[in-house]
Subunit: 227 residues, 2 copies
């Protein structure tokens, strides 16, 4: 599903130059569940944004579903992103003046899904994350963990083949976080590829594989799995 | 330091009525370290906002440093808040067009501290949270955990007598989170009262006492402390 080679992202120039990613290479097969871990500031969100086609690398290659993304432009880039990828942002990126339901409907609007079906699927997604009774609230009327779950619902309402989640349980208590992990396991069992950036070892432990990012470089972590 | 009685916060009316806090009562002595835990949506941020004088209760009483806060208005309210309380927001609330350093200087601007000393203390606070080399970056140029640490630095630069922190380690890896906990322990050893909302059991374990919030009500949790 994913193949990156020498992926590099550099911000700024001269004194303010920051190599957020300094040549990252790995492959992820369709249907895998990979956790990405590493210290604060190490480059995880930068990497996930590149994988999610939200940003372009300074150097290096990224092939998604066998196709080099460098060739994707404009409408085709947007369509590829919309059809294949569900993205959960570290800071949620919800529209503050839209309700939880209309926020979750947004990917379906882009996909041209009719209104009644959009509404039904959005309410179903909110129910999956335990927020059926908050569908009419706007983000400022939601707790931090509720906003995070709306962002998760929005990421999966379009039935993407790949879910990229940037610290999806950071604002959740362990019980609510466990519900989200069970949801992820269900998606993965149904064939969805999962790439989850996390600081939570419980979340990393559920993945089949752990990639560690340190100072903009990637390392495969040997996981000794308890049986 | 803190005494609350029957603290209540109700949002909305009729069908959209939400009792975020339904009568919370407890006391916290000066110099205590209290963790506030509970499920997502249970009322923790609502409670912390009331304690931080960022909002007014619908009903109930709140005495801060022996004085009923209901009587505080306008400039006196702002001054009390500025002098006594450092607040770390769950969503950081940084100014996106200001640098990390000028964001951290803000409480000192309100306190009338001269420019050179403001700068020195802001850089010192950023160094304490491991961000000396990010002082000139603006929030969009910082990682999630870096933004969270800038919010922490801003909360303690004014040397408050009480630090209220809403999930201060949610975006931090365990090593960086441990550094922040050591910093909190240092502040507490120096007499600062700490009230920390957290979903992280490691963070809760460092506190001397745990208050649990569930459905807008508070419960004292009996902690069996390992010796
Ligand atoms: N302005 C508002 N209008 C309506 N309901 C609100 C408003 N603000 C908060 N709420 C509701 O009040 C409840 C408590 O919210 P609060 O932010 O205190 O929860 P929390 O315990 O901090 O949750 P989390 O752990 O997810 O951050 C939530 O169910 C939320 O939906
Ligand atoms: N626009 C930018 N300009 C300059 N530097 C940037 C910019 N965006 C990010 N950085 C820097 O790049 C590095 C990597 O950032 P990134 O957000 O990928 O980290 P992260 O691993 O997700 O961290 P966290 O765990 O704290 O979320 C950080 O040191 C950050 O300061
Ligand atoms: Mg990040
Ligand atoms: Mg909260």
């Amino acid at each position: 599903a994913i193949a990156v080679e020498g992926l590099t992202k550099i911000y700024g120039t001269g004194e303010s130059r920051v190599a957020a990613l300094a040549g990252v290479s790995f492959a992820i097969d369709a249907g895998e569940w990979v956790a990405i871990v590493g210290p604060s500031g190490s480059g995880k969100s930068t990497l996930l944004n590149l994988l999610g086609l939200l940003d372009r690398p300074t150097a290096g290659r990224y092939a998604l579903a066998g196709r080099d993304v460098a060739g994707l432009r404009g409408a085709e880039l947007a369509r590829t992103r919309g059809e294949l990828i569900g993205f959960v942002f570290q800071s949620f990126n919800l529209l503050p003046r839209e309700t939880a339901r209309t926020n979750v409907e947004l990917p379906l609007v882009y996909a041209g899904v009719p209104g009644a079906e959009r509404r039904r699927r959005a309410l179903e997604a909110l129910d999956r994350v335990g927020l059926a009774d908050r569908a009419g609230h706007r983000p400022p009327q939601l707790s931090g963990g509720q906003q995070q779950r709306v962002a998760i619902a929005r990421a999966l309402v379009g039935r993407p083949t790949m879910l990229l989640a940037d610290e999806p349980t950071g604002n959740l208590d362990s019980a609510t976080g466990a519900d989200i992990l069970d949801l992820f396991a269900e998606l993965n069992a149904g064939g969805v590829t999962l790439v989850v950036v996390t600081h939570d070892s419980t979340v990393a432990a559920r993945a089949g594989r752990v990639i560690e990012i340190r100072d903009g470089r990637s390392y495969e972590r040997d996981t000794v799995r308890a049986t």
